[in-house]
Symmetry: C2
């Protein structure tokens, strides 16, 4: 056990960590972004910090490679490599960027076996005496595989290049020669997670597997509707073309900027993996969305696809293939599928729960080899939507809340450190949990009049989070009774999914060995709070893993190891999809799940024990659906 | 045995045929074109004739289908179906077109198993209860094969079409869905023989295998050079692009005209096979020609290719594949390779010789499974090139010659029936053979002064074929001593190839079971004459098969039966290529072959016997190379 203090400008983040953990792991626990884009695996060299005081473990070879002796001597270290070696360590965080929440994500280590590789080839000499060979043969004879496919573009290049030695870029999956080019050029892959809100892009060096660039931008399709439903509606009226082109033109200009920043040419990017939900997937390809808009929901294609970059207009090597992993269906896209996959669901003994929380929350549970999944309509509350002072996790958002005394103003932290302008998802969950613990909100979700001096209003009540004087807005930041109801509905949708899936699999949510919470939102929640309100099952906090954007890291994994693309299809075929709305007791379980933490006390024994004093007058289990929530 | 008389305008063509032969077979023997484009297989319905007198066999079902009862009652018949039923039959030839020599060719019957087929599919209904299926799955579940490839274009169509029943057009070779479209549209393939001089195009209905259109046009690359050498030279200076675009723009406008004529849309053409020599093949693809221009001759690609129509710019369905069969090498293209292949070389017991006569003459000999081939630089003499009054086989060309009396004007026929303006290849061969038989030219190729009143000149002699008064030109049409030398060189190149190949295979040219003479030129020669001058080996005339444009018919065969595409590659891999110039005695055999029929009397025993009287003073075999041909 030791203390690590991260300093960023005038801010300080303190965290107590177990021995042996790296500074990177400490930073994740402290909720501060140190710049890593490879998830702490030592690939990117971006998580540089500078030692202010205290002792750290000796520099590793990885640090020597990324930093060199000079920087090491000046106290620079990589957070993923350095471990505290004294009870207290203070380091300076050097990244000045706003948190790259959209791109961070857990990434398992996999053998580097990319689909595309450049093979250096010395042309066989053609003479009249030797067996007759075409240029193509004199080059491909070295590849040691069946005759590869070639397209006309490559043949034309081949015909013009007469150098003795060339690099032959081969896509091993389709056994196609993508390019023939001068020796020594780069070989990169690009992973793209097309989210409804954010698009995350990663550049991976296929020669060593390192992620050398990662960033995200707002999905410009936003101007056609904030959520998938409104985008489908737009596409049904005007066609999908606008959506496709909006995304592609922004994406391609983003890529061009990235190429300039990194100093590579687009022809050096020879592979791509694109993941997303079904609507993003279809819109990326320019496929009509109407099948996704109405029951019986029918996507155009669920199978994995390899499409030519030039056919979809993606600004990488035009002959490269873009791999789109399979969808499970209209409600579970390749983004959460690959997330569940890289977290090992269905591939390990034990019971695992994977949640990708968003407007729709994808829920996977596996017990040993069995995998079951569904999509819950959780709504936008955890992203700040439909909440009066809700906002996204950007600068000015309250992202954590502690209430020490029910009558005093709560303590909170603000992203970026300035005055608060609202609450993001993790702040809302913290706040609701704290209100519950203090009896200011009761388990039915009712703000209790007189429970705190900060509860105000005649008629609908509200709780004052930040007084007007402290707020970054003109007015006080509050949480209304209606806001609480919205949060309850969101968490009820997710709890319902977990309860129904686990019942179908014959397990109890309490038995789950590990809970993986994906999504950029998930990176910042406090598991204790999420358990208290009943969003997560009541498991020991150490079993909750905040895995971040696993759609992005899943896409990177598929770039690095092409064999896993097929494994993913096999995984997909084993996942049993459950349509919650078709379950007979869906309504009943849902209404029961609106209680906090739950209408089913057995699922939250410890939480119930700790809030027992608050339970008077609240009836659970029996008659839950008659309890009456007129505002719902 | 019976006589068939073909009348065309004021002309009559008589031929005696064995019993049981069709009028079409009689027409081929008579050397008259009756309009067939399917090679007499009953597919095209184009070989209509009208009975003038005599009896024919009863109408067949094929005739009933193509002609109907009304036309049958008026005496119209199909030449390929009708057989003489009386000792003499007179029929009227109805085709008014100039001979379609460029497109005619022997075509073996093959099972109809095209690479591309339209499969009618009723979409499986998607409901919430049934196993989840995407649109693609609900359609491809019926195809009964592994998950097919689909491209983005087809997926977009699929997404927009919600009809219950659709036609799914599948390329079975690459297992790709080419199109999804309303039911009932056509399914055609196009076969293209890109010759240096002429481009032949065939439209094949893939549903029944019939050839429904065939025509040819001059290769517009002619403006960049008449032969492959000058086109390579042009491309080395200016790039291959001009050649490619010249061909493609003409080809595509030709195709558009054909689509209008036949009444189909270009999207109904879903397969294509393109054959040609290496230069045509590379120029079609836009591949640099420099490897083909200098030793060691190296083509860019020899392997069979399937390229997207839109990638090469061919005006058929853009998602269709264009199949380019393999080349044997720079000197033997897919055109003659497929010709030798469909004539069964290497696939039958016995010894077979295949000749594709042109500026370069490809020669294949097979004994049982062994196949050996070469390309001989025969020059343009047999196409009328380098011959003073030589011309192509078009209107006004003398195409057959008979000399009854050495001193009298020869008898001849003229294509189109008007006044003669020159001699085409078959006319030249006939003429040379007749001059040889009459002793006007001696076996060394010398025009013999005083042998005929029609031999004139002081200094170099010439033989007057047509007097000025009969000629369609202002002057007499003659054959000069220099012209005879050109013809001798051409035939010597071919005889040399046959002699060297047969020696390497351990067979005698006299043992050849069948000789296939391909090329439009080959359709009109008189085998007797070709044997007399030593162009063909001395085998019984019945063993000589004039097979016409087998490049075109080979391409059609590959359209109809996709499995043969792989067979062709296996055939290619078995053909042993011989580079004549590397043979030690090449020069010696060549000079010996300049004699007519040959310097090797053993190869032409009967011919020598018949011209024995002419042999005085001519020394054969030994010392052939010292015989001295100063003008060569």
């Amino acid at each position: 056990m030791g203390e690590v203090v991260f300093r960023r400008g005038s801010e300080e983040f303190r965290v107590v960590v177990d021995e042996g953990l790296s500074l990177y792991e400490a930073s994740v626990k402290a909720g501060i972004y140190v710049g890593s884009i490879c998830g702490g695996r030592g690939f990117c060299g971006k998580c540089r910090v500078r030692v202010v005081s205290g002792e750290l473990s000796s520099p590793t070879e990885v640090e020597l490679r990324h930093l060199g002796t000079e920087l090491l001597n000046e106290g620079y270290r990589l957070a993923c490599q350095a471990r505290p070696a004294s009870p207290r360590v203070v380091v300076e965080v050097l990244t000045t960027e706003l948190m790259k929440a959209a791109v961070m994500g857990y990434e398992p280590e996999v053998p580097l076996e990319p689909a595309v590789a450049a093979v250096r080839v010395r042309r066989a000499l053609v003479t009249l005496d030797t067996p007759h060979r075409s240029t193509l043969e004199s080059i491909t004879v070295h590849l040691g595989r069946g005759a590869p496919l070639v397209n006309v573009g490559v043949l034309r290049k081949l015909a013009s290049s007469m150098s003795k030695e060339v690099d032959v870029v081969v896509h091993r999956g389709v056994n196609e020669v993508i390019d023939v080019r001068p020796v020594g050029r780069g070989c990169y892959g690009i992973a793209i997670d097309v989210g409804t809100t954010k698009v995350a892009v990663y550049l991976v060096d296929l020669r060593d597997g390192s992620t050398i660039y990662a960033d995200a931008f707002e999905n410009p399709q936003d101007s056609y509707g904030a959520d998938v439903i409104s985008r489908i509606a737009y596409a049904m009226e005007h066609g999908v073309r606008d959506l496709r082109l909006a995304l592609l033109s922004r994406l391609n200009s983003f890529l061009n900027g990235m190429y300039r920043a990194v100093g590579i040419g687009k022809e050096e990017v020879v592979d791509a993996v694109v993941v997303g939900n079904a609507v993003m997937h279809h819109a990326f390809l320019g496929l009509n969305l109407k099948g996704l808009g109405a029951s019986p929901y029918e996507e155009v294609v669920r199978a994995p696809l390899d499409v030519k970059a030039r056919d979809v207009g993606l600004g990488i090597h035009p002959e490269a293939y873009v791999h789109l992993p399979p969808l499970l269906g209209g409600f579970i896209g390749s983004d959460s599928l690959v997330g569940a996959f890289i977290n090992g669901l269905g591939r390990r003994e034990g019971t695992y729960l994977f949640l990708d929380i968003g407007t729709n929350t994808e829920v996977f549970i596996s017990r040993d080899g069995d995998v079951i999944a569904t999509s819950a309509a959780s709504g936008p509350a955890f992203e700040g939507g439909h909440i009066r002072f809700g906002m996204k996790a950007t600068e000015g958002a309250i992202d954590s809340v502690v209430i020490k005394d029910a009558d005093e103003p709560p303590e909170y932290t603000v992203i970026g450190g300035g005055r608060p302008r609202g609450l993001c998802g993790s702040g809302l969950i913290d706040l609701l949990a704290e209100l519950l613990r203090k009896g200011i909100v009761d388990p039915t979700g009712r703000l209790v009049a007189g429970s705190s001096r900060r509860v105000r209003g005649d008629g609908p009540l509200e709780y004052v989070v930040v007084d007007a004087g402290e707020s970054g807005l003109e007015v006080a930041i509050t949480l209304s009774q209606r806001d609480v109801r919205e949060l309850q509905k969101a968490k009820a949708a997710i709890q319902t999914a977990i309860r129904i899936l686990s019942r179908k699999l014959g397990v109890s949510p309490l038995e789950v060995d590990e809970v993986y919470v994906a999504g950029s939102f998930g990176l910042y929640i406090r598991p204790e709070s999420a358990i208290t309100i009943g969003l997560l099952p009541e498991v020991p906090v150490s079993r909750v893993k905040l895995v971040g954007n696993t759609a992005g890291s899943g896409a990177r994994v598929l770039l690095k190891n092409a064999g896993l693309r097929e494994e993913l299809v096999k995984f997909r075929d084993r996942v049993r999809y459950v349509e919650l709305a078709l379950e007979r007791d869906f309504q009943e379980v849902y209404v029961d799940s609106i209680y906090m933490p739950s209408g089913c006390a057995d699922l939250y024994p410890n939480t119930f024990r700790s809030i027992k004093g608050l339970l008077k007058g609240v009836r659970f289990r029996r008659g839950a659906s008659q309890a009456g929530f007129p505002s719902l």
